[in-house]
Each structure stands twice: as structure tokens, then as C-alpha cells.
Symmetry: C2
Subunit: 433 residues, 2 copies
């Protein structure tokens, strides 16, 4: 096997251009990045066939990253719409994007996305495999491995494979309220029980490692048993699979293939810290890439908020990357506006965690916007906002509703904001102390 | 002094009708509520002149409560609009409402609000006092105490008074990036430094206690020094005031007046637990009523989300009531739609904390909606949602965008959801295991 992965090169003592770039972005030394990559605590998803990529590092010693999922369904498909979602996700600051398309034109949509994306692109290969056959029963080893090879060649930076959900785990899922809510997990479980055979990702793991090593595709070990509701959280099914994921992390590292681990899901607030620690122990500190977690089941339409709460706490306790959840979660396919709301909610969660973990410089932007507030400098506040357009829009709406044609004139620090009017402006009054 | 307050009656061994109602709502024994009220760990804001009230209990041994602020500004005022905001806040589940009006018609707006509100109504009396004079310098003891007496007589259930911000604390605020962002706090600080006199709430505290005891008005000790940005969090100014609030809690309890304590503000994620514990120690476990806290300064337009993260964590660590923050925070006056978004974000935060604190029955609604999901019962999911209209709206939007005219027909458990289509519906596939 040719040793071209970041892991292999880091172990050989080489500081790659990708490591240099990550070090610069993280204000860390390149040696710090190299040792992290060598040990597997940091991954840099960077397929050798993705020339548009500007690499990022993922690991709990770095700033928290966020991922945005896009992709069509079998019921609707429009490449232009997916490109619009990609641009929205990138524009608001997604660090990686997963194309979860399951419908028509999967290959061409992904080709367009990879060509247009400076951020790492992830996929769930079993979706494409399933799209090529008429039912999940017809999946087979060659198809599954073949799709991974094609995607690796095409330039996919990381792939989610649910290799830890074994045949013996399936009965554990049947006791649950919501059984298996992972699409990939449910497809594999159905296949395994139909054929009474072991998970094909698991039985073909060495072949998959060879492919990933060849193109430096990072493996993201999917959690097919992630709980789909609070009642199913932190149960035997979830942790039985996590134990297998820990073993697979070791096999990836032995093959010098980069690996991260995916996590829940729906988890109550009091179990989030325990879940983060458990992964760090069982998976030897492989970067943890979590979905939410959603901390309340009963707020469809607001799951970007229910999950941002869980995500902030997850990252604070060590998750390395947060997969966003949009307001459409549990309801339908997100559109571009949902992508925007999801990305911003997750930028907030990641940023809150980075401030709480005292990452160097994490609070600089906040201090700058606070200075702008103290100086009644609205334009600067908008410029520093995570979503300047939204801030301006709400400000304009408020002025219009109060029939105020423009901001009050500034007179040194003696201005005031129209939220309270001059007599009740705390900022103005306290500037006079 | 006639001993009519809930505190006095609880100490005398009486279980009042208000305590009975609270016990019923909380699924607790009335004796548990009585001892909590007697000790001051629980308050039941219930002015004897608020006949429309359906009492609630506030304390960290009970379910987490949320407050919604409404009210006009000196720049715009419309009683009908405030009533619309009140109905929105009540409709989405606010447990208390504060009328923060500073503009025209304060007395009449409040009268309408109290008459129409089954939930406790709070105010900040210094706003009305200031509205009666031409500048904050003209405030005086008689005006301040007089306004409190009138509001108490009118039926206000709780009043925020910034009695702990002393003259000696003002220099501490001058070192801050944002000095004093509490409106009441800044008005009092300005008055104190102008006249070189002590805080009039502090010097008149015994007279205020007499009024509150007469009508059973609950005192909410305001935190005039709450930090207005992360850079000012957990500083000397904030904790110097909190120490005084602790002394004032003792004086309230000695007078058998119900009391809670208000808290920050802007606090980084890693300091929230410490802030909750500090209040419990310094204020002898008086119910802590916190504003947010906002955990990120740079997301104007999304502060309902930045603060819901902090609020969930605050309640998890012991805050008893959460004052909502709307998307308009830092930008303008909220309208009815902002009130809706703020209330729902805080229902989520409070609910997440109650589940995390394992309050009896806290997860029932979540389990029910999860069962509805497992059964593909969309109507039941909507009915159980915190905001059914929003969930329906997003669902309809998604169906429309995918050109699907209606939900797929149900066929026992063999239905599927249009998010993924039948081949990729994890719920459908795993129901077949």
C-alpha cells in the first residue's frame, strides 16, 4: 500500500502543506498539528482528487467545526437547487458539507458539488448503492465496495459507513421506541436480517481501508444505532455499537487511514457529558462528530434550537464537529432558508463552546461587537454579526414599526438606540456616569 | 403589619388555596409546597388584588418557569398591540409576563394587562416613576415609593427593584466595556452619582417591604450590574451587588415578604454553573430568575438561540425562572412574532432542563410524540408539538416544494414520510425488522 495519507506522512515526520494550512487557521504550531494527526486525535479530510479543497482540521484540541447536510430525495431532485444550498451553507460558514442525495443524478450532483466546494465533502455511500438496485435485499459486497471506490476516485473527502452495527445488535434495536432512525443503519440491518449475514461494511473492512488509504479518504464511522428519541438514549444498542466502533478505530489507525466517529442523536441534557467521555475512552480520542444532539423531542419546527443546545454542550465536553439540524428536521427536506437557519444556529453552538473552552482568540469577535455597541456604531455591529443581513433586516423592521425614518444622529457617545428611546437608554445613561 | 403573605401563612402552618393549586400543577404534596414557601425556596407571586390570577410556584424544586417581557417604548405606544403581545405570550405558554412599558398610557396598559392575565404580572416601577418627571435627576424617595404603592394596589404580582446596586459599586462599572446595561440600574446609578446619595430603593427598603407585605407583592431583586457582554461577565461589580442582594433576601424574609433574585445577562458557557451556585450560596437559595444568559455576543438577530443555550444550562444548574430573549434583542422592540419565537425558544430551554433534572413526568410529552412518530401519525405529532402551527406550516412547505399533493396513505405501519421517500425511510425499514 502506498503511504500517502496525512496519517502516514505525519508519522513519517513530514509536515504536509495541508498541516501547514490547518496550523495557520488554528493559530497552532505545525508540529502540534502533525503530532495530532499522527496520533489520530486530529483528522484532515483531504482526498487527493479534490483540487478545490482548502483543508481544515477536526479534533477536540482545535476550534469546533460544523457540517451542513444537503442533498435531494427520491421524490424530488434538482441539481441547481442543491448548488444553491451548497452556496448558502458555504456563505454562512459551514466547515464541511455532506451530500446525502438519494434521488436522481447522484453522480452528477456530487461532481458539481466537489468541483465547487473549497470545504471537505462527505457522503453516505450506501445511498448511492441502494439507488442502483430495486430493493435493499439486492445490495451485495461488490456493489458496496465498488461505489466506495468510485466515490473515492471522484474526490469525496470523507465517507460515513455504518460498519459497527452488527447482526447481533439488531435484536437490541427491536426493544426501542424508534428502533433504528439512521437511514444507513436501517438499510444494513434489514439486509443483515434478510440474509442472516454479517454487516458487509464490517466483513469488507480491509478492502475499504485499502481504497481509503489510496485516495486519503477519511472514514467517518456512522452510528446506525443513534437514538431517535430521548427514551432510546444511552441504551445497550447504542453503546454495543460504540464498542465496535472503538475496535474499528484501531484497525483504521493500523492501516494509517484517517478516522472519526459519529455520535447521537437524541440525548437528554444530563447525559451529554457522559456520552462525550464514553466516546473518548472507547474510541481512543478519535474526533467525535455528533448530530445535535436534540435535547427535547416535542418541538418539531424548532429542532435547530433544541439541537443547538445539545450541540453547544457536546462541543464544550469534547465533540470535535457538529452536524447541523435544520428547522425542517422530522418534517421534510430543508430548503436554502432552512440551511441558513441551521448553519447559523450551529455557528452559535460551536462558537459558544469555543469561548467556554477558552480557545485562544475565541472571544475576539464578541469583544469587537461589544465595543461597537458601546460606541453606538450600528454599521460595525452589523458587519461583525454572524448573519449581517438578518440583523439589518430585524433592525429595519423595528424602525419601520415604530415609524422612525432613520437612526438618531450620533453626537459623540451621547447617541441612543431606538429600542428604548433616549430617556431609557442604559448605554447612553451609563456613558454619562 | 397584617400577616397576609403566602410566606406568613405558610409559616403559620396554613396551606392556602394558592399552595393547593401549585401543588396540583407540580404533582407535589401541598405540604411540600408549604414548607418551600415558608423557607423562601419557593415563591407564589399572587397580589391580593389580581382576581384573574391562576397562581404558579417558582423555585428550583419545581418545574422551570419562563417569563415574557412586553411593553411599549417612549417612541411608540399602542395598547392594542401590547394586548396582542400578551395573548401571544400566553398562547405559547409564558408562565409570567412583565410589562416593561416606558411610554404613554403606562397605567391604563397595565390595568388592561392585569385584568386579562391569568399569569402573574411583573413590572419595573422605576420606569413609571421616570415617566412622570422630565429627567432622572428629578426622581425622589416619595415618587419612587408612591409608584410602588399604586402598582401594588393595582394588582401587580411582582416588582423588580434594583436595591442592591449601591453608590460604592458605581466605580466598578466604569471599568467595564459596557458599564451598566440594565435600564433600571443605569437610571439609579445616574441619580446616585448626581446627588451623591445612596440608592433610594435601599434607603427606603423597609417602607417598600411594608407595601409588599400589605398586598403580597413578591420582590424580584434586580441585578443592575448584570454584565452586558462576555467581557464583563462574573466581575467584581456583578458579585459585589449579588452580595448585597443576599442581605436584602434576609430582610425580605424577616418581613415575611416573598422574594426572588435576578441574574445575568451575558455569561460564557463555562461560568454558568458557577454563577448559579454562587447565587444559591449568597442568597440562601432564593429562587433565581435569570435573563438568558446569552453565551455569544456576535449573533444579533438570533439571540433567542444564543440565550436559550445559556438558559437551558442555567435551569439545569438550578435557575428557577428564565426571562426570555427574543430575536430582536440588541436591535429593537419585539413584535408579536418575536414574542412567539422567544417564548418557544424558552419553552424548549426550560423543558430540556426539566428533563435533564429528571422532574417527574417531564418526558411524557416527548415519549408521546415519539410514539406518534413511530406510528406515522402526523396529526398527533402536530398536536403534541410545542408550536403545532409552525410544525404544520413547515411540513406543508416541504410537501409543496416537492410537488407532493398529500401525505402518502397509511397502510398499518408500512407508511413512510416524504422527507426521504419509501426506499430510504428508516422508520419504515426498521419497522420491518
Amino acid at each position: 500500500m502506498i503511504k500517502i495519507t496525512q496519517t502516514a506522512r505525519a508519522r513519517a515526520g513530514e509536515i504536509t502543506p495541508q498541516m501547514e494550512l490547518v496550523a495557520e487557521k488554528e493559530a497552532a504550531s505545525s508540529e502540534f498539528i502533525r503530532t495530532g494527526v499522527a496520533a489520530g486525535r486530529i483528522v484532515i479530510p483531504a482526498n487527493i482528487n479534490h483540487p478545490a479543497l482548502k483543508p481544515i482540521g477536526i479534533g477536540r484540541s482545535l476550534t469546533t467545526k460544523i457540517n451542513a447536510n444537503i442533498g435531494n430525495s427520491t421524490l424530488s431532485s434538482c441539481p441547481a437547487l442543491e448548488l444553491e444550498k451548497l452556496r448558502t451553507a458555504l456563505g454562512y460558514g459551514a466547515d464541511t458539507v455532506m451530500d446525502l442525495s438519494t434521488g436522481a443524478n447522484i453522480v452528477n450532483i456530487r461532481k458539481t458539488i466537489i468541483a465547487n466546494s473549497p470545504v471537505p465533502i462527505g457522503t453516505v455511500p450506501v445511498y448511492e448503492a441502494l439507488s442502483r438496485v430495486s430493493s435493499s435485499e439486492e445490495l451485495n459486497d461488490e456493489l458496496i465496495v465498488g461505489v466506495i471506490r468510485e466515490q473515492a476516485k471522484q474526490g469525496v473527502d470523507y465517507i460515513t459507513i455504518h460498519a459497527g452495527l452488527l447482526l447481533e445488535h439488531v435484536p437490541l434495536a427491536k426493544r426501542r421506541k424508534l428502533r433504528i432512525v439512521s437511514r444507513g443503519g436501517s438499510i444494513l440491518a434489514k439486509w443483515m436480517t434478510t440474509h442472516n449475514r454479517e454487516n458487509p461494511y464490517y466483513t469488507n473492512f480491509d478492502r475499504i481501508l485499502e481504497i481509503c488509504a489510496e485516495y486519503d479518504v477519511t472514514i467517518s464511522l456512522g452510528d446506525g444505532m443513534r437514538p431517535g428519541c430521548l427514551a432510546d438514549a444511552s441504551d445497550r444498542a447504542q453503546f454495543a455499537e460504540l464498542g465496535v466502533l472503538g475496535e474499528l478505530v484501531s484497525r483504521c489507525r493500523a492501516a494509517a487511514v484517517q478516522v472519526m466517529v459519529e455520535g447521537p442523536g437524541h440525548i437528554p441534557l444530563d447525559e451529554i457529558e457522559m456520552n462525550m467521555k464514553r466516546e473518548q475512552e472507547l474510541c481512543d480520542d478519535a474526533p467525535f462528530y455528533i448530530l445535535g444532539p436534540v435535547v427535547v423531542d416535542c418541538a418539531p419546527g424548532y429542532d435547530h434550537i433544541t439541537s443547538a443546545i445539545g450541540a453547544a454542550l457536546g462541543a464544550f465536553h469534547g465533540a470535535a464537529m457538529l452536524c447541523y439540524v435544520t428547522p425542517k428536521e422530522h418534517l421534510g427536506l430543508p430548503n436554502a432558508e432552512d440551511v441558513r437557519n441551521g448553519v447559523i444556529a450551529y455557528k452559535i453552538a460551536a462558537h459558544a463552546a469555543d469561548i467556554g473552552r477558552k480557545r485562544p482568540g475565541a472571544r475576539d469577535r464578541d469583544d469587537a461587537i461589544s465595543d461597537a455597541r458601546a460606541g453606538f456604531d450600528w454599521e460595525k455591529q452589523f458587519d461583525l454579526a454572524l448573519d449581517p443581513a438578518r440583523a439589518r433586516q430585524l433592525r429595519d423592521e423595528s424602525l419601520r414599526e415604530q415609524n422612525i425614518s432613520e437612526e438618531p444622529p450620533q453626537d459623540g457617545k451621547k447617541s441612543y438606540c431606538t429600542m428604548c428611546g433616549p430617556e431609557f437608554c442604559s448605554m447612553r445613561i451609563s456613558s454619562e456616569l
